[in-house]
């Protein structure tokens, strides 16, 4: 009975980690639907974002932006600035990678492209290790105390509220972007039919660039949020994230960014709730199990694509 009593609290943790997975999954879905391949370097892009934020933070503080904590959050405005700059920086890196590598492979077979992304994953991870070493790097040494949510009987930390707020806001912004901006519509059009998009005059290189920008920004932010949640990051972070993110994407339907959101929440919650029954070491195995189950039961995902 005691185990079951822990479940509501685990649900809350699951929502938090699920929001992070959702942000990561959106990028994978977008890349897949518009560029046509699964990006196995996505996790390490998240890690890059997390590490860049750490590197940029002292520079931001030096410029004079305050580091006093914002309300009951564990960080100050300087961190928020660092977060934004890190996202931009990560985008820059990936756009360069696209120019140097992926652009030359535009016509290549899908599996060749995916192997190339595995190579990028390995490269990014080791570049991170080269500059920052294999030991964990800490985001915050302070312990933050969780407060009770009135009426629900579960606790949550201010940082965790921040994480979910960021994830929700970004998801909403993404929706508005895809729905109402010209380039957003062009992205949806390219996802539908890339060849017709070209025939229509849509500048597919620009669409590709925006796909990277959006997917990578979300990934970088997600990586930083992981740093906030876990308090530290390691170079392993990226590869560790791959399995739950892909499980989320497959659950929601490959290529459907909205599905990735749903999938992320489901996987996050499942992973956390599972710790009531099995060892925490096996959390990734839970994601894997969800993955295999989806493939057996409904490989197209719970939310099939709207067309």
């Amino acid at each position: 009975m005691e185990t079951l009593a822990r479940i509501p609290q685990l649900l809350v943790y699951g929502l938090v980690s699920g929001s992070i997975l959702s942000l990561g999954g959106i990028g994978v879905s977008l890349t897949y639907s518009i560029l046509g391949f699964s990006n196995f370097a996505h996790g390490d892009v998240m890690a890059l974002g997390a590490y860049l934020a750490l590197a940029i933070l002292p520079l931001v503080s030096a410029v004079g932006i305050g580091s006093g904590p914002l309300g009951s959050l564990s960080f100050g405005p300087d961190f928020v600035v660092a977060l934004v700059l890190a996202a931009i920086g990560t985008c820059g890196v990936v756009l360069v990678l696209d120019r140097l590598l992926f652009r030359r492979l535009r016509g290549a077979g899908r599996i060749t492209l995916m192997i190339a992304t595995v190579g990028v994953a390995l490269g990014l991870r080791n570049v991170i290790q080269f500059f920052w070493g294999p030991q964990p790097r800490y985001y915050s040494a302070k312990i933050q105390y969780a407060t009770m949510i009135p009426g629900l009987g579960v606790k949550i930390k201010p940082d965790q509220v921040f994480i979910m707020a960021v994830a929700i806001s970004l998801a909403v912004l993404l929706h508005l972007f895809l729905r109402y901006t010209k380039i957003g519509k062009a992205m949806r059009a390219t996802a539908d039919n890339a060849s017709l998009a070209r025939v229509t005059g849509i500048n597919t290189e620009r669409v590709v660039a925006w796909t990277w920008i959006i997917g990578v920004s979300l990934a970088a932010v997600a990586g930083i949020l992981i740093g906030i949640e876990n308090k530290f990051v390691t170079p392993e972070l990226g590869w560790q994230m791959l399995l739950p993110i892909f499980a989320a994407v497959i659950l929601g339907g490959f290529g459907n960014p909205y599905g990735a959101i749903v999938g992320g929440i489901v996987v996050g919650v499942s992973e956390e709730v599972s710790t009531a029954f099995i060892s925490t070491a096996y959390k990734p195995a839970v994601a894997f199990l969800i993955l295999i189950l989806m493939l057996l039961v409904k490989p197209t995902g719970l939310l099939t694509r709207r067309s």
């Binding site: 196995f40 599996i111 995916m114 080791n126 290790q129 894997f288």
Partner: protein, 339 residues
């Protein structure tokens, strides 16, 4: 003279490793080169083969072990066979849900299985002794050969140093022959298979799966056979590794590196060509070993240098993909395709 023997001994050791990677590359070549299957969980099959053979051939758990089962002290050949069978079974488990679907799905599923295997190896100490690993894995004929070489050395006290160095490492020569024998046997078996009607169907599937399906072939069954067979070969490689290293732990099977370097080897050597697979193994392993020497002269710390070496291999892969995706040796039986 002693230095020369030192080099020779090192080269033997190098060749054993390269040969084991060659076996892995042959397995991947069957899955990817011949059939177009996207397996990025090679390390999982490799690790399972290694552990299976170690547990089958090794000593029973001792008081110092965390283990509770295993260690049947069976002969090497049995270990090899067991390794192949268990790896094959694992491939079956993965292949069943994924092979009817797109390549991406097999990719992520193989990552998952490699990860899960690693988790089990680390956490289920009752079976695997967890992070402390398995020690004293017996090597085939080791005691016999060791007895003879030791006897030889004691019988010749005035032996020149270089001869002593050579003889004391004689077991490695034997193991090298063993690995070479496995490699050559596999090469010929695969050659027959690829040229057989079965192999032709695999290649047809790789070129155009829909066309193959329409000509009435059960594409799924063929893919499954290829995946399982390739995994069995990888399991054998694992067993060969376990018995040469004589100590294995979960850390020996980092999924990303174990898998990744084999892909680089195959792409460099020549996808779809078995000789290419073996060539690639030696070339890339050679590059890897060479970087080990060069890094002594670099001003960075050990973990930095280790990271740099991997970045170098990653760069090698990307360069190959962009400029010479077919690799050094051409694909055997590749028809000129009219798209």
């Amino acid at each position: 003279m002693e230095q020369l023997i030192g080099v020779v001994n090192y080269l033997v050791f190098f060749a054993i490793s390269a040969g084991i990677y060659g076996v892995l590359s042959l397995g991947l070549n069957l899955q990817w080169g011949a059939t177009g299957l996207f397996n990025i969980g090679i390390a999982g099959f490799y690790a399972v083969g290694a552990y299976t053979s170690a547990l089958v051939c090794g000593l029973p758990p001792t008081a110092w072990d965390g283990r509770m089962v295993g260690g049947f002290e069976l002969p090497f050949a049995v270990g090899l066979l067991a390794a192949a069978l268990v790896s094959g079974a694992l491939a079956l488990v993965i292949g069943l849900p994924t092979l009817r679907l797109r390549a991406d799905y097999l990719g992520i599923a193989t990552i998952g299985i490699a990860e899960t295997v690693r988790l089990i190896l680390k956490n289920e100490a009752w079976l695997t002794n967890g992070v402390w690993g398995l020690q004293q894995i017996p090597s085939p004929l080791y005691s016999v050969i060791h007895r003879h070489t030791a006897a030889y050395i004691t019988a010749h006290p005035g032996l020149p140093e270089w001869q002593r160095l050579l003889v004391s490492r004689a077991y490695n020569w034997f193991y090298l022959l063993l690995v070479a024998a496995v490699l050559i046997a596999l090469y010929f078996v695969l050659k027959r298979l690829i040229r057989s009607p079965w192999g032709r169907v695999l290649r047809a599937i790789r070129e155009d799966e829909d066309a193959a399906a329409m000509s009435g072939k059960n594409v799924f069954a063929f893919k499954l056979q290829s995946l399982v067979l390739g995994a069995m070969i990888m399991g054998i490689a694992g067993a060969l590794y376990a018995h040469s290293a004589r100590f294995i732990s979960p850390a020996s099977f980092e999924p990303l590196y174990g898998t990744f370097i084999v892909w680089v080897m195959l792409m460099v050597g020549g996808t779809g060509n078995n000789k290419g697979a073996m060539l690639g193994a030696f070339v890339v392993w050679g590059i890897w070993a060479a970087t080990d020497f060069v890094t002594d002269y670099l001003p960075w710390t050990a973990p930095q240098v280790a990271a740099l070496r991997i970045v170098a291999i990653g760069l090698l892969l990307e360069v190959v993909i962009v400029w010479r995706p077919k690799g050094i040796l051409p694909e055997i039986g590749a028809k000129r395709r009219a798209l």
